[in-house]
């Protein structure tokens, strides 16, 4: 029987990762359609004509795009695991911190990796501040979501797995145990969750991928796929 749920994505993308983990937490049967981002498929362009990006969730022929919107959809459309809190205020807080990760944490960290000189110093300063603020949100909890992973943990997947890889390739040490013990402990715990483990690519492969693209990424400041 053809799956009614398809996820267009790539294992290398932290945004695709968010959608994949959400589906695994809900134990949804889905088909993962791996996109070659250097040669986007007709299906991708048809289902996401405006942004032409992954992840795209296709559920009964209807498409949902933008990773955090996909996660909220999965939370609402499928029974089981609660990815977002039930209290409206807590939900607003979860949405706020997910957005903070996207707008402040990730851009500053990414640019810290692929710039040099004074520009890099500036970005590193921003990234450190953002990581400190993010870490403070753990507030003694195991995960941002409490005892189990939730919306903010999924949003922060890139921090947990990709940041270590990117900084290794870039030759900097921003997110380290000395400066961010709580965040690093959270990262280990996050990556140990079954649904997350199943979604992650082998670390060595990802390191090799970014290392091979290092110069191109440095030049364009954008992720390189071909």
């Amino acid at each position: 029987m053809a799956e009614t749920v398809k996820l267009l994505g790539t294992k290398g993308s932290p945004y695709s990762h968010r959608a994949e983990v959400a589906l695994r937490l809900k134990e949804v049967n889905f088909e993962f359609l791996h996109e070659d981002l250097a040669h986007k498929s007709d299906m991708l362009l048809r289902y996401n004509p405006i942004h032409k990006k992954i992840p795209v969730l296709v559920h009964e022929e209807k498409s949902i795009v933008e990773s955090l919107i996909v996660v909220e959809y999965v939370h609402e459309a499928f029974n089981g695991y609660a990815i977002l809190p039930s209290d409206p205020y807590e939900r607003a807080m979860a949405r706020f911190w997910a957005r903070y990760i996207d707008e402040k944490v990730i851009p500053a960290f990414w640019m810290s990796c692929w710039t040099d000189g004074e520009m890099q110093k500036g970005f590193i300063g921003q990234a450190k501040e953002a990581l400190t603020i993010l870490e403070s949100q753990l507030k003694g909890k195991k995960f941002f979501g409490g005892d189990s992973i939730g919306f903010v943990d999924l949003a922060a997947g890139m921090v947990a797995f990709w940041f270590g890889i990117l900084q290794e390739v870039a030759g900097i040490s921003l997110l380290n145990e000395e400066d961010y013990p709580v965040l690093c402990r959270w990262a280990d715990d996050y990556c140990s969750v079954e649904a997350v483990k199943e979604s992650l690519l082998d670390r060595k492969l990802l390191v090799a991928h970014f290392a091979s693209k290092k110069e191109k990424i440095f030049a364009t400041k954008a992720p390189v796929y071909d």
Binding site: I50, V70, Y73, A77, A92, R95, F96
Partner: protein, 221 residues
């Protein structure tokens, strides 16, 4: 911020982001205290309520702050759920609403700002982009009364405050919204028939005065 009962909104008169919150509160009939912030001298309350971004709008409900305009609107919709629902109930429709509100967020304000900040070729590029954005929104609206269908909804709230900036965009970049997106222009007029919108939106001429003030401040011609 003591845990005082009640609703307060920290805002700035011309902010389209603040206006989203005001329209949502008005649609729901929520009584609240409006506090106008001086953005060149932010109040202690604002800095305490939004220490991360130090921006308006901030909704303070029973002493607890909610920040970021679309997050505030969803919060208002969820707490005061008995009246005037802004989000659809179907998960797919909700995802669509979030997508288009996010689209407005990512595109309209930034592109609009470039229309009055830039000159020459750069301004022409921004104008082309704004026309594309308006035409995408036009296609999404189609022949519906509102973006939300028959009822005024989340995307309408997200986009309508920017309609009082249309005059400024048109004047700075020399084009007509009605010319490139007539359905959007009609929709804007329809929305002004709603009390919540009419009482909230700034007069387009006043917005233009504000834009001219900003242009002087940023040294743009």
């Amino acid at each position: 911020m003591a845990s005082e009962k009640g609703v307060m909104l920290l805002d700035f008169w011309v902010s389209p982001f603040g206006q989203r919150a005001r329209i949502a509160l008005a649609e729901k009939g929520v009584q609240y205290e409006y506090k106008e912030e001086n953005l060149t001298e932010k109040s202690e309350l604002l800095l305490k309520a939004n220490p991360v971004h130090k921006k308006i709008p901030v909704l303070i409900h029973d002493g607890k702050p909610v920040c970021e305009s679309l997050i505030i609107v969803e919060y208002i919709d969820e707490v005061w759920s008995d009246k005037a629902p802004l989000m659809p109930s179907d998960p797919y429709q909700r995802a669509q609403a979030r997508f288009w509100a996010d689209f407005v967020d990512k595109k309209v304000y930034d592109c609009g700002s470039r229309l009055w900040k830039l000159k020459g070729e750069e301004q022409q590029a921004a104008k082309k982009e704004m026309i594309e954005i308006l035409q995408l929104l036009e296609a999404q609206l189609g022949d519906k009364k509102y973006f939300g269908g028959d009822s005024f909804g989340f995307v309408d709230v997200a986009f309508v405050p920017f309609t009082s900036w249309f005059y400024s965009y048109e004047t700075c970049a020399n084009f007509s919204v009605e010319g490139v997106a007539p359905k959007v222009a009609q929709w804007a007029k329809r929305c002004l028939e709603r009390e919540s919108v009419a009482k909230t939106l700034s007069d387009p001429k006043k917005v233009y005065e504000f834009v001219c003030f900003l242009k002087k401040k940023f040294g743009v011609e």
